[in-house]
Amino acid sequence: MAACRVAVTGGTSGLGLALAGELLARGAQVAFVARGRERVERVAREHPGAHGIVGDVSQKDDIYPIAVQILGALGGLDVLINNASDLGPAPLALLGDTDCEDFERALATNVLGPFRLTKALLGALAASAREGSGAVVLNVSSDAAVNAYPLWGAYGASKAALRHMSGIWNAELEAEGIQFLSIDPGDMDTPMHVLAVPDADPAQLKKPELAAQELVAAVSKLLGTRSIAGAV
Protein backbone atom coordinates (compact mmCIF):
# COMPACT_ATOMS: atom_id res chain seq x y z
CA MET A 1 0.00 0.00 0.00
CA ALA A 2 1.58 3.22 -1.14
CA ALA A 3 1.97 5.90 1.49
CA CYS A 4 -0.46 8.77 1.66
CA ARG A 5 0.79 12.23 0.64
CA VAL A 6 -0.14 14.82 3.26
CA ALA A 7 0.56 18.54 3.66
CA VAL A 8 0.19 20.22 7.07
CA THR A 9 0.34 23.97 7.66
CA GLY A 10 1.58 25.38 10.93
CA GLY A 11 3.66 22.24 11.28
CA THR A 12 6.40 23.29 13.67
CA SER A 13 4.51 23.70 16.93
CA GLY A 14 1.46 22.59 18.85
CA LEU A 15 -1.09 20.48 17.01
CA GLY A 16 0.65 20.84 13.61
CA LEU A 17 3.91 19.41 14.95
CA ALA A 18 2.01 16.56 16.60
CA LEU A 19 0.14 15.90 13.34
CA ALA A 20 3.39 15.74 11.37
CA GLY A 21 4.82 13.26 13.88
CA GLU A 22 1.68 11.12 13.92
CA LEU A 23 1.45 11.03 10.12
CA LEU A 24 5.12 10.10 9.71
CA ALA A 25 4.74 7.37 12.32
CA ARG A 26 1.94 5.93 10.21
CA GLY A 27 4.05 5.87 7.08
CA ALA A 28 2.62 8.93 5.33
CA GLN A 29 4.74 11.18 3.13
CA VAL A 30 4.61 14.56 4.80
CA ALA A 31 5.30 18.13 3.77
CA PHE A 32 4.85 20.73 6.49
CA VAL A 33 4.72 24.50 6.22
CA ALA A 34 5.61 27.16 8.79
CA ARG A 35 6.87 30.72 8.89
CA GLY A 36 10.16 30.46 10.78
CA ARG A 37 13.09 29.06 8.82
CA GLU A 38 15.02 28.01 11.89
CA ARG A 39 12.11 26.02 13.29
CA VAL A 40 11.28 24.47 9.92
CA GLU A 41 14.86 23.28 9.51
CA ARG A 42 15.00 21.94 13.05
CA VAL A 43 11.73 20.00 12.71
CA ALA A 44 12.88 18.64 9.33
CA ARG A 45 16.11 17.44 10.94
CA GLU A 46 14.17 15.79 13.77
CA HIS A 47 11.79 14.10 11.33
CA PRO A 48 13.85 12.48 8.58
CA GLY A 49 11.86 12.10 5.40
CA ALA A 50 9.56 15.05 6.09
CA HIS A 51 9.76 18.00 3.70
CA GLY A 52 9.97 21.34 5.52
CA ILE A 53 8.67 24.38 3.65
CA VAL A 54 9.15 27.96 4.81
CA GLY A 55 6.11 30.08 4.03
CA ASP A 56 3.33 32.20 5.49
CA VAL A 57 -0.16 31.10 4.44
CA SER A 58 -1.56 34.52 5.35
CA GLN A 59 0.52 36.09 2.55
CA LYS A 60 -0.96 35.88 -0.94
CA ASP A 61 2.47 35.89 -2.57
CA ASP A 62 3.60 32.90 -0.54
CA ILE A 63 0.77 30.56 -1.60
CA TYR A 64 2.01 29.45 -5.02
CA PRO A 65 5.63 29.05 -3.91
CA ILE A 66 4.28 26.86 -1.08
CA ALA A 67 2.11 24.88 -3.52
CA VAL A 68 5.03 24.36 -5.94
CA GLN A 69 7.11 22.96 -3.09
CA ILE A 70 4.37 20.73 -1.66
CA LEU A 71 3.43 19.24 -5.02
CA GLY A 72 7.04 19.00 -6.18
CA ALA A 73 8.12 17.21 -3.02
CA LEU A 74 5.18 14.81 -2.80
CA GLY A 75 4.44 14.45 -6.53
CA GLY A 76 0.74 15.01 -5.82
CA LEU A 77 -1.50 15.31 -2.79
CA ASP A 78 -4.06 13.14 -1.01
CA VAL A 79 -4.63 15.14 2.16
CA LEU A 80 -4.33 18.82 3.03
CA ILE A 81 -4.54 19.85 6.67
CA ASN A 82 -5.14 23.58 7.13
CA ASN A 83 -3.95 23.84 10.70
CA ALA A 84 -2.04 27.14 10.85
CA SER A 85 -4.11 29.59 12.88
CA ASP A 86 -3.87 33.10 14.23
CA LEU A 87 -5.48 34.03 17.54
CA GLY A 88 -6.16 37.65 16.64
CA PRO A 89 -5.31 40.05 19.47
CA ALA A 90 -3.08 38.62 22.20
CA PRO A 91 -3.97 38.94 24.96
CA LEU A 92 -7.55 38.36 23.86
CA ALA A 93 -9.66 41.49 23.57
CA LEU A 94 -13.28 42.51 23.40
CA LEU A 95 -14.34 43.16 19.81
CA GLY A 96 -14.76 46.82 20.67
CA ASP A 97 -11.12 46.90 21.71
CA THR A 98 -9.80 44.76 18.83
CA ASP A 99 -7.46 46.49 16.41
CA CYS A 100 -8.56 46.10 12.80
CA GLU A 101 -5.08 44.86 11.93
CA ASP A 102 -5.39 41.99 14.41
CA PHE A 103 -8.79 41.05 12.99
CA GLU A 104 -7.43 41.19 9.43
CA ARG A 105 -4.48 38.99 10.33
CA ALA A 106 -6.81 36.40 11.86
CA LEU A 107 -8.94 36.41 8.70
CA ALA A 108 -5.88 36.22 6.44
CA THR A 109 -4.45 33.24 8.31
CA ASN A 110 -7.62 31.37 9.25
CA VAL A 111 -9.85 31.99 6.21
CA LEU A 112 -8.05 33.45 3.19
CA GLY A 113 -4.94 31.31 3.62
CA PRO A 114 -6.84 28.00 3.69
CA PHE A 115 -9.02 29.22 0.80
CA ARG A 116 -6.06 30.14 -1.37
CA LEU A 117 -3.97 27.10 -0.55
CA THR A 118 -6.90 24.73 -1.06
CA LYS A 119 -7.65 26.36 -4.39
CA ALA A 120 -4.04 26.05 -5.55
CA LEU A 121 -3.97 22.37 -4.56
CA LEU A 122 -7.44 21.42 -5.79
CA GLY A 123 -6.23 19.97 -9.09
CA ALA A 124 -3.85 17.60 -7.33
CA LEU A 125 -6.52 16.57 -4.81
CA ALA A 126 -9.03 15.87 -7.60
CA ALA A 127 -6.43 13.78 -9.46
CA SER A 128 -5.90 11.72 -6.33
CA ALA A 129 -9.65 11.24 -5.95
CA ARG A 130 -9.97 10.08 -9.57
CA GLU A 131 -7.22 7.56 -8.93
CA GLY A 132 -9.39 6.05 -6.20
CA SER A 133 -7.01 7.16 -3.46
CA GLY A 134 -9.55 9.50 -1.95
CA ALA A 135 -8.80 13.13 -1.18
CA VAL A 136 -9.48 14.93 2.07
CA VAL A 137 -9.06 18.51 3.25
CA LEU A 138 -9.13 18.84 7.01
CA ASN A 139 -9.71 22.35 8.32
CA VAL A 140 -8.87 22.59 11.99
CA SER A 141 -11.77 24.28 13.75
CA SER A 142 -12.66 25.33 17.27
CA ASP A 143 -15.64 25.48 19.57
CA ALA A 144 -15.24 29.24 19.18
CA ALA A 145 -16.46 28.74 15.60
CA VAL A 146 -19.87 27.73 16.95
CA ASN A 147 -20.23 29.50 20.31
CA ALA A 148 -20.16 33.25 20.83
CA TYR A 149 -17.49 33.49 23.53
CA PRO A 150 -16.72 37.02 24.69
CA LEU A 151 -13.08 37.97 23.97
CA TRP A 152 -12.76 35.46 21.13
CA GLY A 153 -14.26 37.73 18.44
CA ALA A 154 -11.52 37.79 15.78
CA TYR A 155 -10.63 34.15 16.24
CA GLY A 156 -14.21 32.93 16.61
CA ALA A 157 -15.53 34.87 13.62
CA SER A 158 -12.66 33.70 11.41
CA LYS A 159 -13.03 30.08 12.51
CA ALA A 160 -16.80 30.29 11.92
CA ALA A 161 -16.09 31.45 8.38
CA LEU A 162 -13.61 28.62 7.88
CA ARG A 163 -16.13 26.09 9.17
CA HIS A 164 -18.84 27.36 6.85
CA MET A 165 -16.43 27.43 3.92
CA SER A 166 -15.54 23.79 4.62
CA GLY A 167 -19.21 22.89 4.28
CA ILE A 168 -19.56 24.74 0.99
CA TRP A 169 -16.36 23.25 -0.45
CA ASN A 170 -17.68 19.84 0.55
CA ALA A 171 -21.03 20.37 -1.15
CA GLU A 172 -19.40 21.69 -4.32
CA LEU A 173 -16.70 19.05 -4.63
CA GLU A 174 -18.60 15.97 -3.54
CA ALA A 175 -18.89 14.84 -7.15
CA GLU A 176 -15.14 15.24 -7.65
CA GLY A 177 -14.53 12.94 -4.68
CA ILE A 178 -12.83 15.56 -2.53
CA GLN A 179 -14.13 15.48 1.04
CA PHE A 180 -13.83 18.31 3.55
CA LEU A 181 -13.68 17.90 7.29
CA SER A 182 -14.01 20.60 9.93
CA ILE A 183 -12.97 19.28 13.32
CA ASP A 184 -12.63 20.95 16.70
CA PRO A 185 -9.69 19.20 18.35
CA GLY A 186 -10.61 20.55 21.83
CA ASP A 187 -8.63 22.72 24.24
CA MET A 188 -5.01 21.62 23.94
CA ASP A 189 -1.77 22.29 25.71
CA THR A 190 -0.25 24.32 22.89
CA PRO A 191 1.62 27.64 22.53
CA MET A 192 -1.55 29.19 21.12
CA HIS A 193 -3.56 28.20 24.18
CA VAL A 194 -0.90 29.74 26.43
CA LEU A 195 -1.23 32.93 24.41
CA ALA A 196 -5.01 32.92 24.81
CA VAL A 197 -5.36 31.68 28.38
CA PRO A 198 -1.98 32.22 30.09
CA ASP A 199 -3.11 30.98 33.51
CA ALA A 200 -4.73 27.71 32.34
CA ASP A 201 -3.57 24.53 34.07
CA PRO A 202 -1.75 22.47 31.38
CA ALA A 203 -2.70 19.28 33.20
CA GLN A 204 -6.37 20.02 32.45
CA LEU A 205 -5.70 20.41 28.74
CA LYS A 206 -5.64 17.78 26.05
CA LYS A 207 -2.22 16.71 24.79
CA PRO A 208 -1.77 17.73 21.14
CA GLU A 209 -0.44 14.21 20.42
CA LEU A 210 -3.79 12.73 21.45
CA ALA A 211 -5.71 15.26 19.33
CA ALA A 212 -3.41 14.46 16.39
CA GLN A 213 -4.22 10.74 16.71
CA GLU A 214 -7.94 11.53 16.67
CA LEU A 215 -7.69 13.81 13.65
CA VAL A 216 -5.56 11.41 11.65
CA ALA A 217 -8.00 8.60 12.48
CA ALA A 218 -10.89 10.73 11.20
CA VAL A 219 -9.05 11.54 7.95
CA SER A 220 -8.07 7.92 7.54
CA LYS A 221 -11.66 6.79 7.95
CA LEU A 222 -12.78 9.16 5.19
CA LEU A 223 -10.05 8.00 2.85
CA GLY A 224 -11.62 4.56 3.06
CA THR A 225 -9.89 1.64 1.49
CA ARG A 226 -6.59 3.34 0.87
CA SER A 227 -6.08 4.76 4.31
CA ILE A 228 -2.93 6.23 5.74
CA ALA A 229 -0.51 3.33 6.07
CA GLY A 230 -1.06 1.54 9.33
CA ALA A 231 -4.07 3.56 10.34
CA VAL A 232 -6.60 0.78 9.92
Binding site: H51, G52, I53, V54, Y64, P65, I66, A67, V68, Q69, L71, G72, A73, G75, G76, L77, A120, L122, G123, A124, A126, A127, R130, E131, G132, E172, L173, A175, E176
Partner: protein, 359 residues
Amino acid sequence: MTSASQPIQRPRDAKLLAIDVRGRIQHWPRARFVELLQPGDLVVANDAATLPASLSGVHVPSGGAIEVRLAGRPSLADFRRFTAVVFGAGDFHIRTEDRPLPPRLSPGDRLQLGPLAATIEAILHHSRLVSLAFDGSPDKIREGMARHGRPIQYAHVQAPLDLWDVWTPIAGPPVAFESPSAGFAIDWRELASIAARGVRFATITHAAGISSTGDPELDARLPFDEPYRIPPSTARAIRTTHANGGRIIAIGTTVVRAFEHAAVADGDVRAGEGLATQRIGALTRLRVVDAILSGTHEPGTSHHEMLCAFTDDKTLARANRELDERGYRTHEFGDSIWIARTVQNLPILEPAAGEFARI
Protein backbone atom coordinates in the same frame (compact mmCIF):
# COMPACT_ATOMS: atom_id res chain seq x y z
CA MET B 1 -4.06 36.72 -35.88
CA THR B 2 -3.68 39.22 -33.09
CA SER B 3 -2.04 38.19 -29.84
CA ALA B 4 -4.12 37.92 -26.69
CA SER B 5 -2.39 40.47 -24.50
CA GLN B 6 -4.35 40.15 -21.24
CA PRO B 7 -3.58 37.25 -18.90
CA ILE B 8 -7.22 36.23 -18.52
CA GLN B 9 -7.69 32.48 -18.74
CA ARG B 10 -11.39 32.48 -19.54
CA PRO B 11 -12.46 35.74 -21.17
CA ARG B 12 -16.26 35.90 -21.41
CA ASP B 13 -16.06 36.50 -25.14
CA ALA B 14 -13.65 33.63 -25.92
CA LYS B 15 -14.36 32.15 -29.33
CA LEU B 16 -14.14 28.64 -30.69
CA LEU B 17 -13.64 27.65 -34.31
CA ALA B 18 -14.85 24.08 -34.71
CA ILE B 19 -14.02 21.74 -37.57
CA ASP B 20 -16.15 18.59 -37.80
CA VAL B 21 -15.30 15.16 -39.19
CA ARG B 22 -16.23 16.30 -42.69
CA GLY B 23 -14.00 19.38 -42.52
CA ARG B 24 -16.90 21.79 -42.11
CA ILE B 25 -16.27 24.89 -40.05
CA GLN B 26 -18.50 26.52 -37.46
CA HIS B 27 -17.99 29.35 -34.99
CA TRP B 28 -19.07 28.96 -31.39
CA PRO B 29 -18.73 30.87 -28.16
CA ARG B 30 -16.11 28.81 -26.30
CA ALA B 31 -18.36 28.81 -23.25
CA ARG B 32 -20.58 26.37 -25.21
CA PHE B 33 -17.72 23.95 -25.86
CA VAL B 34 -19.53 21.27 -23.84
CA GLU B 35 -22.22 21.06 -26.50
CA LEU B 36 -19.68 19.55 -28.89
CA LEU B 37 -19.37 16.57 -26.55
CA GLN B 38 -21.51 13.46 -26.71
CA PRO B 39 -22.47 11.10 -23.90
CA GLY B 40 -19.84 8.38 -23.72
CA ASP B 41 -16.96 10.64 -24.77
CA LEU B 42 -13.86 10.96 -22.61
CA VAL B 43 -12.25 14.38 -22.16
CA VAL B 44 -8.58 14.29 -21.16
CA ALA B 45 -6.54 17.27 -19.98
CA ASN B 46 -2.92 17.75 -18.93
CA ASP B 47 -2.82 18.50 -15.20
CA ALA B 48 0.83 19.61 -15.14
CA ALA B 49 1.29 22.78 -13.13
CA THR B 50 3.75 25.31 -14.51
CA LEU B 51 7.13 25.75 -12.89
CA PRO B 52 8.63 29.17 -12.29
CA ALA B 53 11.08 28.17 -15.03
CA SER B 54 12.57 31.58 -15.82
CA LEU B 55 15.63 32.18 -13.62
CA SER B 56 17.64 35.37 -13.85
CA GLY B 57 21.22 35.48 -12.72
CA VAL B 58 24.85 35.59 -13.67
CA HIS B 59 27.21 33.52 -15.81
CA VAL B 60 29.98 33.31 -13.22
CA PRO B 61 33.07 33.02 -15.51
CA SER B 62 32.20 36.19 -17.45
CA GLY B 63 30.09 38.02 -14.89
CA GLY B 64 27.51 38.52 -17.65
CA ALA B 65 23.79 38.81 -16.87
CA ILE B 66 21.71 35.91 -18.15
CA GLU B 67 18.22 34.51 -18.05
CA VAL B 68 17.94 30.75 -17.95
CA ARG B 69 14.69 29.24 -19.18
CA LEU B 70 14.30 25.65 -18.12
CA ALA B 71 12.95 23.81 -21.13
CA GLY B 72 13.13 20.08 -20.61
CA ARG B 73 13.90 17.32 -18.14
CA PRO B 74 14.87 13.68 -18.50
CA SER B 75 12.12 12.36 -16.23
CA LEU B 76 9.32 13.64 -14.01
CA ALA B 77 11.15 12.49 -10.88
CA ASP B 78 14.46 14.24 -11.59
CA PHE B 79 14.57 17.71 -10.06
CA ARG B 80 18.29 18.32 -10.50
CA ARG B 81 19.01 18.04 -14.22
CA PHE B 82 17.34 20.20 -16.84
CA THR B 83 17.72 21.19 -20.44
CA ALA B 84 17.71 24.98 -20.63
CA VAL B 85 17.81 27.80 -23.14
CA VAL B 86 20.08 30.67 -22.07
CA PHE B 87 19.33 34.29 -22.96
CA GLY B 88 21.51 37.36 -22.53
CA ALA B 89 20.70 40.49 -20.55
CA GLY B 90 17.20 41.98 -20.55
CA ASP B 91 13.81 40.53 -19.82
CA PHE B 92 10.52 39.65 -21.39
CA HIS B 93 9.76 43.20 -22.46
CA ILE B 94 12.12 42.48 -25.35
CA ARG B 95 10.77 39.93 -27.85
CA THR B 96 12.69 36.67 -27.62
CA GLU B 97 13.76 37.16 -31.23
CA ASP B 98 15.47 40.43 -30.30
CA ARG B 99 17.17 39.39 -27.07
CA PRO B 100 20.95 39.82 -26.85
CA LEU B 101 22.99 36.62 -26.93
CA PRO B 102 24.33 35.27 -23.66
CA PRO B 103 28.08 35.13 -22.96
CA ARG B 104 29.89 32.21 -24.60
CA LEU B 105 28.95 29.10 -22.63
CA SER B 106 31.15 26.08 -21.98
CA PRO B 107 30.76 22.81 -20.10
CA GLY B 108 31.78 23.22 -16.47
CA ASP B 109 30.73 26.90 -16.34
CA ARG B 110 29.06 27.91 -13.09
CA LEU B 111 25.80 29.82 -13.04
CA GLN B 112 24.45 31.75 -10.05
CA LEU B 113 20.69 32.16 -10.36
CA GLY B 114 19.51 33.99 -7.25
CA PRO B 115 19.84 31.46 -4.43
CA LEU B 116 20.42 28.63 -6.92
CA ALA B 117 23.82 27.52 -8.17
CA ALA B 118 24.22 25.30 -11.19
CA THR B 119 26.86 23.86 -13.48
CA ILE B 120 26.59 23.56 -17.24
CA GLU B 121 27.13 19.88 -18.02
CA ALA B 122 26.98 20.02 -21.80
CA ILE B 123 26.26 22.27 -24.76
CA LEU B 124 23.58 20.58 -26.82
CA HIS B 125 24.59 21.24 -30.43
CA HIS B 126 23.62 24.91 -30.13
CA SER B 127 25.45 27.73 -28.35
CA ARG B 128 22.39 28.63 -26.22
CA LEU B 129 20.99 25.19 -25.46
CA VAL B 130 22.58 23.50 -22.47
CA SER B 131 22.03 20.74 -19.99
CA LEU B 132 22.63 21.90 -16.44
CA ALA B 133 22.63 20.43 -12.97
CA PHE B 134 21.69 22.35 -9.83
CA ASP B 135 23.62 22.10 -6.56
CA GLY B 136 21.85 20.96 -3.41
CA SER B 137 19.01 18.70 -2.37
CA PRO B 138 15.78 18.51 -4.36
CA ASP B 139 13.97 20.36 -1.53
CA LYS B 140 16.52 23.19 -1.69
CA ILE B 141 16.32 23.37 -5.50
CA ARG B 142 12.52 23.53 -5.37
CA GLU B 143 12.66 26.24 -2.71
CA GLY B 144 15.12 28.31 -4.75
CA MET B 145 13.00 27.95 -7.85
CA ALA B 146 9.75 28.71 -6.01
CA ARG B 147 11.16 31.85 -4.41
CA HIS B 148 13.39 33.21 -7.15
CA GLY B 149 11.91 31.87 -10.38
CA ARG B 150 9.15 33.46 -12.42
CA PRO B 151 6.93 31.75 -14.90
CA ILE B 152 8.26 32.19 -18.43
CA GLN B 153 6.96 35.56 -19.59
CA TYR B 154 5.69 36.65 -22.97
CA ALA B 155 6.48 39.90 -24.74
CA HIS B 156 2.88 40.04 -26.03
CA VAL B 157 1.53 40.11 -22.44
CA GLN B 158 2.61 43.41 -20.91
CA ALA B 159 1.87 42.73 -17.23
CA PRO B 160 4.33 40.32 -15.59
CA LEU B 161 2.75 36.89 -15.18
CA ASP B 162 2.45 35.24 -11.79
CA LEU B 163 2.06 31.55 -11.21
CA TRP B 164 -1.67 31.96 -10.60
CA ASP B 165 -1.96 33.41 -14.11
CA VAL B 166 -0.47 30.31 -15.71
CA TRP B 167 -1.69 27.43 -13.54
CA THR B 168 -4.79 25.86 -15.06
CA PRO B 169 -7.68 25.33 -12.62
CA ILE B 170 -6.84 21.61 -12.47
CA ALA B 171 -3.07 22.06 -12.14
CA GLY B 172 -1.32 19.41 -10.05
CA PRO B 173 2.32 18.28 -10.24
CA PRO B 174 4.59 21.24 -11.12
CA VAL B 175 6.45 19.77 -14.08
CA ALA B 176 5.56 21.95 -17.09
CA PHE B 177 7.89 24.68 -18.35
CA GLU B 178 5.11 26.59 -20.04
CA SER B 179 1.45 26.28 -19.27
CA PRO B 180 -0.63 23.59 -20.96
CA SER B 181 -2.83 26.54 -21.82
CA ALA B 182 -5.58 24.71 -23.72
CA GLY B 183 -6.67 23.72 -20.22
CA PHE B 184 -7.47 27.34 -19.35
CA ALA B 185 -10.86 26.65 -20.96
CA ILE B 186 -11.81 24.05 -18.34
CA ASP B 187 -12.79 25.30 -14.90
CA TRP B 188 -14.69 23.54 -12.12
CA ARG B 189 -18.07 24.64 -13.42
CA GLU B 190 -17.14 23.30 -16.85
CA LEU B 191 -16.12 19.99 -15.28
CA ALA B 192 -19.55 19.74 -13.66
CA SER B 193 -21.21 20.45 -17.04
CA ILE B 194 -19.05 17.79 -18.69
CA ALA B 195 -20.11 15.22 -16.07
CA ALA B 196 -23.77 16.27 -16.37
CA ARG B 197 -23.61 15.53 -20.09
CA GLY B 198 -22.60 11.94 -19.45
CA VAL B 199 -19.01 12.61 -20.48
CA ARG B 200 -16.08 11.37 -18.42
CA PHE B 201 -13.04 13.41 -17.50
CA ALA B 202 -9.48 12.21 -16.93
CA THR B 203 -6.00 13.69 -16.75
CA ILE B 204 -2.44 12.94 -17.66
CA THR B 205 0.66 14.76 -16.43
CA HIS B 206 2.89 15.89 -19.28
CA ALA B 207 5.90 18.17 -18.80
CA ALA B 208 4.98 20.64 -21.52
CA GLY B 209 8.11 22.25 -22.88
CA ILE B 210 8.69 25.75 -24.14
CA SER B 211 6.77 26.99 -27.16
CA SER B 212 9.37 29.30 -28.66
CA THR B 213 13.02 30.20 -28.10
CA GLY B 214 13.29 33.18 -30.44
CA ASP B 215 15.89 31.30 -32.48
CA PRO B 216 14.74 29.69 -35.75
CA GLU B 217 17.36 26.95 -35.55
CA LEU B 218 16.28 26.00 -32.03
CA ASP B 219 12.59 26.43 -32.77
CA ALA B 220 12.99 23.92 -35.60
CA ARG B 221 13.96 21.37 -32.95
CA LEU B 222 10.78 21.89 -30.93
CA PRO B 223 9.13 20.19 -29.25
CA PHE B 224 11.95 18.84 -27.10
CA ASP B 225 11.54 15.43 -25.49
CA GLU B 226 8.83 15.58 -22.82
CA PRO B 227 8.30 13.09 -19.99
CA TYR B 228 4.71 12.22 -19.17
CA ARG B 229 2.72 10.02 -16.83
CA ILE B 230 -0.56 8.31 -17.60
CA PRO B 231 -2.45 7.36 -14.43
CA PRO B 232 -4.03 3.88 -14.27
CA SER B 233 -7.54 5.38 -14.05
CA THR B 234 -6.95 7.27 -17.31
CA ALA B 235 -5.67 4.20 -19.15
CA ARG B 236 -8.74 2.29 -17.95
CA ALA B 237 -11.07 5.09 -19.01
CA ILE B 238 -9.61 5.04 -22.53
CA ARG B 239 -10.20 1.31 -22.86
CA THR B 240 -13.76 1.63 -21.59
CA THR B 241 -14.47 4.57 -23.88
CA HIS B 242 -13.09 2.78 -26.93
CA ALA B 243 -15.00 -0.38 -26.07
CA ASN B 244 -18.23 1.60 -25.87
CA GLY B 245 -17.65 3.51 -29.09
CA GLY B 246 -17.03 6.88 -27.40
CA ARG B 247 -14.50 9.44 -28.55
CA ILE B 248 -11.26 10.54 -26.88
CA ILE B 249 -11.15 14.33 -26.72
CA ALA B 250 -7.71 15.82 -26.01
CA ILE B 251 -7.49 19.18 -24.29
CA GLY B 252 -4.27 20.46 -25.83
CA THR B 253 -1.44 19.18 -27.97
CA THR B 254 0.45 17.65 -25.04
CA VAL B 255 -2.32 15.12 -24.43
CA VAL B 256 -2.14 14.07 -28.08
CA ARG B 257 1.63 13.72 -27.93
CA ALA B 258 1.54 11.61 -24.76
CA PHE B 259 -1.25 9.27 -25.89
CA GLU B 260 0.06 8.74 -29.39
CA HIS B 261 3.52 8.06 -27.93
CA ALA B 262 2.16 5.62 -25.38
CA ALA B 263 0.11 3.82 -28.02
CA VAL B 264 2.79 3.59 -30.68
CA ALA B 265 3.47 -0.11 -30.14
CA ASP B 266 0.01 -1.60 -30.52
CA GLY B 267 -2.55 1.17 -30.15
CA ASP B 268 -3.10 0.39 -26.48
CA VAL B 269 -2.47 3.22 -23.99
CA ARG B 270 -0.80 1.75 -20.93
CA ALA B 271 -0.50 3.45 -17.58
CA GLY B 272 2.91 4.64 -16.47
CA GLU B 273 5.67 7.10 -17.30
CA GLY B 274 7.17 7.61 -20.74
CA LEU B 275 9.29 10.08 -22.66
CA ALA B 276 7.56 11.52 -25.71
CA THR B 277 10.17 12.00 -28.41
CA GLN B 278 8.12 12.00 -31.60
CA ARG B 279 6.80 14.80 -33.77
CA ILE B 280 3.20 14.68 -34.84
CA GLY B 281 2.23 16.02 -38.23
CA ALA B 282 0.34 15.44 -41.44
CA LEU B 283 1.81 11.96 -41.90
CA THR B 284 0.96 10.75 -38.40
CA ARG B 285 -1.86 8.26 -38.17
CA LEU B 286 -3.63 9.05 -34.89
CA ARG B 287 -4.48 5.88 -33.00
CA VAL B 288 -6.05 7.24 -29.83
CA VAL B 289 -7.32 10.80 -30.06
CA ASP B 290 -10.50 11.60 -32.00
CA ALA B 291 -10.72 15.34 -31.44
CA ILE B 292 -8.67 18.15 -29.99
CA LEU B 293 -9.48 21.40 -28.22
CA SER B 294 -6.45 23.61 -28.61
CA GLY B 295 -5.34 27.19 -28.69
CA THR B 296 -5.10 28.74 -32.11
CA HIS B 297 -1.60 28.28 -33.47
CA GLU B 298 0.18 30.08 -36.25
CA PRO B 299 1.36 28.10 -39.27
CA GLY B 300 5.00 27.09 -39.00
CA THR B 301 4.91 26.23 -35.31
CA SER B 302 5.17 22.65 -34.06
CA HIS B 303 1.76 23.02 -32.43
CA HIS B 304 0.22 23.94 -35.77
CA GLU B 305 2.00 21.04 -37.43
CA MET B 306 0.26 18.70 -34.99
CA LEU B 307 -3.15 19.96 -36.10
CA CYS B 308 -2.32 18.63 -39.58
CA ALA B 309 -2.70 15.12 -38.15
CA PHE B 310 -6.38 15.86 -37.55
CA THR B 311 -7.43 17.34 -40.85
CA ASP B 312 -6.08 18.15 -44.31
CA ASP B 313 -4.09 21.19 -45.40
CA LYS B 314 -6.93 22.71 -47.35
CA THR B 315 -9.30 22.64 -44.42
CA LEU B 316 -6.67 24.10 -42.09
CA ALA B 317 -5.87 26.85 -44.57
CA ARG B 318 -9.57 27.69 -44.75
CA ALA B 319 -9.74 27.67 -40.95
CA ASN B 320 -6.71 29.96 -40.69
CA ARG B 321 -8.35 32.43 -43.09
CA GLU B 322 -11.51 32.45 -40.99
CA LEU B 323 -9.50 32.88 -37.76
CA ASP B 324 -7.93 35.97 -39.31
CA GLU B 325 -11.10 37.36 -40.80
CA ARG B 326 -13.10 36.95 -37.61
CA GLY B 327 -10.46 38.44 -35.33
CA TYR B 328 -9.55 35.37 -33.31
CA ARG B 329 -6.80 35.97 -30.79
CA THR B 330 -3.80 33.69 -30.67
CA HIS B 331 -1.27 32.58 -28.03
CA GLU B 332 -1.74 31.27 -24.50
CA PHE B 333 -4.64 33.50 -23.43
CA GLY B 334 -6.31 33.52 -26.82
CA ASP B 335 -9.28 31.84 -28.47
CA SER B 336 -9.59 28.15 -29.21
CA ILE B 337 -9.96 25.68 -32.01
CA TRP B 338 -11.70 22.29 -32.00
CA ILE B 339 -10.86 19.73 -34.63
CA ALA B 340 -12.59 16.38 -34.93
CA ARG B 341 -10.30 14.02 -36.81
CA THR B 342 -11.43 13.84 -40.43
CA VAL B 343 -13.25 10.66 -41.27
CA GLN B 344 -12.77 9.71 -44.92
CA ASN B 345 -15.58 8.54 -47.19
CA LEU B 346 -18.47 9.34 -44.91
CA PRO B 347 -21.83 8.55 -46.43
CA ILE B 348 -23.50 11.80 -47.33
CA LEU B 349 -26.72 11.53 -45.40
CA GLU B 350 -25.95 9.42 -42.38
CA PRO B 351 -24.90 11.59 -39.43
CA ALA B 352 -21.45 10.65 -38.22
CA ALA B 353 -19.98 10.73 -34.74
CA GLY B 354 -18.71 14.19 -34.01
CA GLU B 355 -20.89 15.99 -36.47
CA PHE B 356 -22.47 19.17 -35.28
CA ALA B 357 -25.72 18.42 -33.61
CA ARG B 358 -26.97 21.96 -33.87
CA ILE B 359 -25.85 25.35 -35.02
